[in-house]
């Protein structure tokens, strides 16, 4: 308390008035850095020559005032106060060579940089807003003309399209009879369905021929179709990881077994 009083005495009347004005205005501040920048103006020097120690004093005094008036201060104001108190001690005490971390002078220099940068940005903002502005000082065309979008569609086709189109029509007729001939076609889908039901029992290597559907072995056309479909279906099941397939040499029987 006695130290506080001692400090109070060192603050001039003008500063005290300024500090009171600050307190009244505390809601209007944009955070501790804003307060520090405002306080720094009382030093009436270039920001580059500002005394950070003095500024720390001023800020701490400001926080004390607020406390005396029992006003609530946001946490970040108090954090800044604590940090400035720390900085003050660093600046006042001779540097301890055993202590780690940045020196008081470095911390002070950075705070000075921050203040200068904030001030610079405020100046920039003011200069920016002071420029001639569109719709206030200079103007865009009032009577704009709508740009009409004209969409032009052109159609193309290649000779290939044409020929394929023609082939498509003509082959529709060609293939009509063969659609009727589906009796002797055993599809891969059919084979797959059949195989899925059977592989559960295929523990040992078994000739693929034994998987052919019944009644398809004798007619050569039917057999060919069934063999092809069954072989294709086997490959599919191998791919899916349900089956293993082998052939010991060319034209040797193809054998299947369940994958374990």
């Amino acid at each position: 308390m006695s130290e506080d009083l001692f400090e109070e005495d060192r603050i001039s009347v003008a500063e005290r008035v300024a500090a009171e004005a600050l307190i009244i205005d505390v809601d209007g501040f944009e955070g501790p850095l804003d307060v520090l920048l405002t306080l720094s103006r009382t030093q009436k020097v270039d920001l580059r020559q500002i005394s950070i120690l003095e500024l720390a004093h001023q800020y701490l005094a400001f926080v004390e005032k607020v406390k005396v008036l029992r006003l609530e201060l946001a946490a970040d104001y108090l954090v800044m106060a604590a940090w400035l108190a720390f900085l003050k001690s660093r600046l006042l005490l001779p540097p301890d060579p055993t202590e780690e971390g940045p020196s008081g002078a470095e911390l002070a220099a950075h705070l000075a940089f921050q203040l200068e940068r904030l001030q610079a940005m405020r100046d920039c903002a003011a200069r920016l807003m002071g420029r001639d502005q569109l719709g206030r000082d200079f103007f865009a065309r009032g009577q704009i003309e709508v740009v009409e979008r004209v969409k032009k569609v052109t159609y193309t086709a290649s000779l290939l399209d044409l020929m394929q189109g023609y082939a498509r029509i003509r082959t529709r007729d060609d293939f009509r009879p063969f659609i009727l001939d589906r009796e002797s076609v055993f599809t891969m889908e059919q084979a797959l369905e059949r195989m899925r039901g059977l592989i559960g029992y295929a523990g040992d290597w078994t000739d693929i021929v034994s998987y052919l559907p019944e009644g398809w072995e004798n007619d050569p056309v039917k057999r060919r179709s069934a063999t092809a479909a069954t072989f294709a279906a086997s490959l599919e099941l191998v791919k899916e990881g349900h089956l293993e397939i082998r052939q010991t040499e060319s034209f040797a029987p193809i054998q299947l077994r369940k994958r374990t």
Partner: protein, 218 residues
Amino acid sequence: MSEPVEKKEESLFEAAPMGEQERMIEAVLFASAEPVTVRELEARMPHGCDAAEALVHVRKLYEGRGVNLAKIGDAWAMRTAPDLGFLMQKETVETRKLSRAAIETLAIIAYHQPVTRAEIEEIRGVSVSRGTVDQLLEMEWIRFGRRKMTPGRPVTFVVTQNFLDHFGLENARDLPGLKELRSTGLLENRPPPGSVPGPGDVDEDDERNEGQSELFED
């Protein structure tokens, strides 16, 4: 903002030079959403200005330019020069593939010309929409041929020079026959689902060659 106010006060005592008045006219007419009357111009310009005279100068200045000064009723506005109206259109060209129906119709006309609509429908197995034929006519890929000497004298369709140019053909007879299509693998690409090509195709070829040669004789 402060400078112009000064100018305004100055002009209470002495009218702005004509060059300045022209600048003002330009600026006001440019920024205004509506045509502006002489009276309004003068109300907006500093005291002592002669908008009517300045307008004459500005009008001359913009003569033959990309924008002109136009009088609309008793008001003035800047307008795009009439011959540059085309710049106010943004043309986007979109290239689309011809529909399947149009390609098939076109192919039938090319291979069987001259061919009637009824014949096209018979070959395609479906009716040919008016729109499809109109589109091909509009593209100038087909045109009307001679009428058939059959009852009802139906019109026929033939392909045009444009068609031949587009597809790089000298003659419609250069179109490959079915056999050639097959040898290039074009036919195998599109078997009807579930069908297997068989030996029956050969006959078909003969028939169509015969048919075509007959059609192209004239």
